[in-house]
Amino acid sequence: MTMMTGAEIVIRCLQEEKVEYVFGYPGGAVLHIYDALFKQDQIKHVLVRHEQAAVHAADGLARSSHKVGVALVTSGPGATNAVTGIATAYMDSIPLVIISGQVPNDYIGQDAFQECDTVGITRPCVKHNFLVNDVHQLALTFKKAFYIANSGRPGPVVIDIPKDVTAAKCRFDYPSAIQMRSYNPVVKGHLGQIKKAVHLLLEAKRPMIYTGGGVILSNGAEPLTRLTRRLGFPITNTLMGLGAYPGTDRQFLGMPGMHGTVEANLAMQHCDVLLAIGARFDDRVIGNPDNFSSLPRKIIHVDIDPSSISKRVKVDVPIVGNVPDVLEEMIRLIEAGNAAPDAQDLAAWWKQIEEWRGKQCMKYRMRKSVIMPQYVIEKLYEITGGRAIVTSDVGQHQMWAAQYYKFEQPRRWLNSGGLGTMGVGLPYAMGAALVNPGMQVVCVTGEGSIQMCIQELSTAKQFRLPIKIINLNNRRRCSTAVATRSRTWIRCPTSSSSPRLMATSGFASSGRKTSRQRSGRLSSTTRTISSSST
């Protein structure tokens, strides 16, 4: 075996992990790594314009593909700029490996140029992080990092590498497997608990299925759909879980929570057995946990993370395990027993639900003076055949996209649910476009959010990424206004001069502005979107 530098080892590790794209921004502390990166062509580097976008783009790649996203940033400001991206991925449990440069070992703690305590700063928003002081530990650390990031409940892992380590030499030996005594995520659910859950489900008079991002992340959409159809139960997907069950199916009640449908929320409230899968009873979904718990109902909760269970809401049947494994076991038990829920009870429950659904809470009135944003999303759905990867930023446009684009498949809807990071839409679209060639990628954004990472238009142009951006300009920080309107009016600043986005078309290959609902104008604009390839 030949000796390799730390920098070469970093690149070899990424190759071993079959990484295709690294999003990054160079700086002093990572120069050796960049040098090694450009001596090979297996891994492609995407130069972003700001480190936050590097992490978001890696995150978008991971969300849309079930691969681990990789970002490379320099020490000090490079690492601190990446923190928002890391926290965003952490809140939504996205598998990432972020490589950050660090000042040389001898300089650590000396307040050196571009030094910061990256491991300390990122500690609360990573699944785990490492500072690699010794080149001999480098390969093993990468193996651990990828394993930790992508197993159990996924999450971002930071590897901080001092510059001298990237120059030091040692033999390269990449472990083929890894065992950690302190980390053994549970996969199989407890059979006794699963049996109890199945029994409860079959006995239920008013059952309800509520699923979240965990189903998407674990690739559990297929068994979930089979189980739901077999049982004939109503189902709701959270913002993070959209696409886990076909959005156009009759059993699908729409999203729950603050921005959800009447029928999904009332069914959550009035059900007698609630099956929660890979969801965490978030405050935007159930509101006040005390009020939510005041109605009697049995709750079954399937999650790979024990700490998600009984965190906000006490549950009756906890099942810790990997979602698809647990779902397959449930299906097996139901099929083996040839069991079915009581048809009469279920019919009565559906009658009630249809009554709620009859209120048509998502109906809106068309107006002559402006284009209704809901209509834009519906048109987008129509033109893309519901098959596009849709990314969004954070705000009203995000909710409209979630409500009116009917997601049929998982990993087609990318947005920041947990942290609510404005500015993710464009970099998410970049990551998704790279890893899903040939697919339509649309970023639905607002005039506020798009400005948070607008510099990435330049990256998208340089790498000729076929991304369509739809800016729903309502000239307000509207979701903040919606959140506060119900109580007291809280003043909220609005940008007095939103940029005329068309002015940025120097970065883009084409741009259209549409403001009035003239016949066909919107359709022709969206058709342009659908036909243009770059």
Binding site: S182, P306, S307
Partner: protein, 163 residues
């Protein structure tokens, strides 16, 4: 309620701050914290005294288990256990107080480990509550300085926390 949580974790740089950071980030309470390597130097044993409702304690143990460096977590106070804390207390020891402090130290099975003309240092090992009562028993005007290690604990009998 007061709980004593015992943690076995990797003896690695930053492992302690992950535990401490978890408590502050999630607004859990730490009353005392002690940590030292075990007979196997790759492992540290950490004892935290905390308080909270049953739901909070459940979350604390779950969140601790979630940390990658944490190998095992046990709530010692759930079953029979022993807890001990070491206190060094420096007191003014002049005139009739000199005799009184000596007597009190004997009652509490403490040792006087430093003697000057005007001061004693008393070493006391006991449960946290017993150390509190010693402090209460002594005239507050006499106490010059106290230093306590925080509680460490171990399960009774066959209850063993090991990898």
């Amino acid at each position: 309620m007061r709980h004593i949580i015992s943690i076995l974790l990797e003896n690695e740089a930053g492992a302690l701050s992950r535990v401490a950071g978890l408590f502050s980030a999630r607004a859990y309470n730490i009353e005392t914290l002690t940590v030292a390597p075990t007979e196997d130097v790759s492992l540290s044993r950490l004892t935290i005294v905390t308080s909270g409702t049953d739901a909070v304690i459940e979350q604390i143990t779950k969140q601790l288990n979630k940390l990658i460096d944490v190998i095992k977590v046990v709530d010692l106070s759930e079953a029979a256990h022993i807890e001990r804390e070491l206190m060094l207390i420096k007191v003014r020891a002049t005139g009739k107080d000199r005799e009184e402090v000596k007597r009190l130290a004997d009652i509490f099975r403490g040792h006087i480990i430093d003697v000057t003309e005007s001061t004693y240092v008393v070493e006391l090992t006991a449960s946290g509550a017993k150390l509190d009562s010693f402090i209460q028993a002594i005239d507050p005007g006499l106490i010059l300085e106290t230093v306590r290690t925080g509680v460490c604990g171990i399960g009774r009998g066959e209850r063993i926390l090991k990898v």
